[in-house]
Symmetry: C2
Subunit: 316 residues, 2 copies
């Protein structure tokens, strides 16, 4: 398939073309930029929901149930699971996870895991591209789920229209710790596993924290209790997500501000990746390894090496 | 102080100069590159210990106790706490945390929190610079602690000589989830809060996981049980850290490989930040905002905008 064929088929909503386009985006192949430029004007229709929270909070099950809920409402649903990968092997460790058993045979659902490839970044950029491809292909609800709560993952979830932060009861110190990283990105909070002891205390702690928080949009994030494994609370979660969207849509300035922040992030992510790739590609064979060895041996320092690379290696 | 003054005083081990040099590094000020180039040849003496693990695992207390232990052995100790920051306000949320009460008046200990500044990255680069500054200033033990376990934080901890992953008993599903992100970077594992129920089960699960893991250096990471709040297990943790270092030092190829991987990461982090900063600085006033608005309105797509920025904005 040529880039133009892929674009036509993506816009016609063909899942295989969507999968292929996302693979191009992941690999940063030459066709990717053409595909992305062509599909981008057709984006902006989907509701993009970002879901993050500590490992073990039951996010995957919650996402599964939310996707089923959206299917029940007649929407096409895309799910992107952003998995961390081994920094050494570079593989997607969760790729073999059996996800979303109930949905995997439903043609109205597209599921994709995205993983970090190597050290050169690009996961946020590739995730943004995948969201745009699904959006252009007519998926009306796109759920982006991250495994962890690191800065990288927070940056990815920030590109959603609505961010859901998932907690579990009895986290104790964890609520405090999590607050540091992701509290301010939560437009909606879900306390999952809400059949466990301590749910009221966690809810109270969360309410207190939200009281002292300062959002620049004056929104009071709703707190929803869910038991994803028992399919409880999912309509409430969906309603809470919609309520934030309605709030945004009632306020043009906020809506525009959020869209511009997302656009700025997309530009920066892509620019950073392209600039680095281009600079490294300019180096001669073995040059990067030579410079690395010199730095490791303390014969050179990283700052002067980088200055040399940026000058195009003339004095290398 | 000129850059040269700062360098002289850093090399003489003066804490105020160290603090100022780190601030330059954080801000990426023009003096920073000069300072870093000058101090870098004097680095490589310190033992750099990276400590990561889930929020709530008690890492801060563990770091405090380890620092006290190192002080007791007569070492100067540097502690760098890598805090996530609010993606919206850009401030260091944990900056106000009262850390290390027992050490804060000890002139042989230097404590610093580092936080993400804005969206343009640079935290890993700044943390690497701070480690180099402390190393050159004669701090013999440098502990780098991260709050979370995201990819960004994993990348930072990877730059340590020895990585400690901290778990707590009874994590259940969490051990599995954590495995995905950080299992392979743990040279040493600490099960903290080891006076809690479930410690043996967690230890067993961890052992099983380490059995199926595949490290490229054939090291079997030791598992140490600690109760940081009661100051238990800290000498064992220190000994486990030393044992990995001894293992590395007995194998020149491994040691060199690790140093080269760290050097490569440092070069890439710095290069990425510099290239992005330079490209954005080339844009005219208001240009980035204009491009961002066009992308937000779907009048332009991010890929063609980035191509334009990389051409130097000639067709802007």
């Amino acid at each position: 398939m040529t880039a133009s064929d892929i674009v036509d088929r993506v816009l016609a909503g063909q899942p295989r073309a969507v999968a292929r386009a996302i693979t191009h985006a992941e690999n940063g192949s030459p066709a990717a930029a053409d595909v992305m430029s062509a599909v981008y004007p057709r984006t902006g229709q989907a509701l993009v929901v970002g879901i993050t929270g500590s490992p073990g909070a039951g996010k995957s099950t919650l996402v599964d149930r939310l996707a089923v809920h959206y299917r029940g409402a007649g929407h096409k649903v895309g799910v992107i699971a952003v998995d961390p990968s081994s920094p050494f092997s570079g593989g997607a460790i969760l790729g073999d996870r059996i996800r979303m058993k109930s949905l995997v045979t439903d043609p109205g659902v597209f599921i994709r895991s995205m993983a970090t490839r190597g050290n050169l970044g690009g996961l946020a950029r590739a995730t943004g591209d995948a969201v745009a491809i699904l959006d252009a292909a007519g998926y009306e609800r796109i759920v982006v789920e991250t495994v962890g709560v690191g800065q990288d993952e927070v940056d990815i979830v920030k590109m959603a229209d609505v961010c859901v932060v998932v907690l579990v009861p009895g986290m104790g110190d964890d609520v405090q710790a999590i607050k540091a990283g992701i509290m301010e990105i939560g437009d909606v909070f879900a306390i999952n596993k809400a059949d466990r002891d301590g749910v009221l205390r966690t809810e109270k702690e969360l309410e207190n924290m939200l009281t002292i928080g300062h959002r620049d949009d004056a929104w009071s994030p709703p707190i929803v209790k869910t038991v994803a494994t028992a399919d409880q609370g999912i309509p409430d979660l969906s309603a809470a997500i919609d309520s934030y969207l309605a709030f945004l849509e009632a306020n043009d300035t906020l809506r525009a501000g959020r869209r511009e922040r997302i656009a700025a992030q997309r530009i920066v992510d892509l620019l950073r990746e392209r600039l680095l790739g281009e600079a490294l590609a300019r180096l001669g064979p073995g040059e990067f390894e030579r410079l690395t060895s010199a730095v490791a041996a303390r014969e050179r320092d990283p700052h002067s090496v980088v200055a040399e690379i940026m000058r195009g290696g003339q004095d290398g």
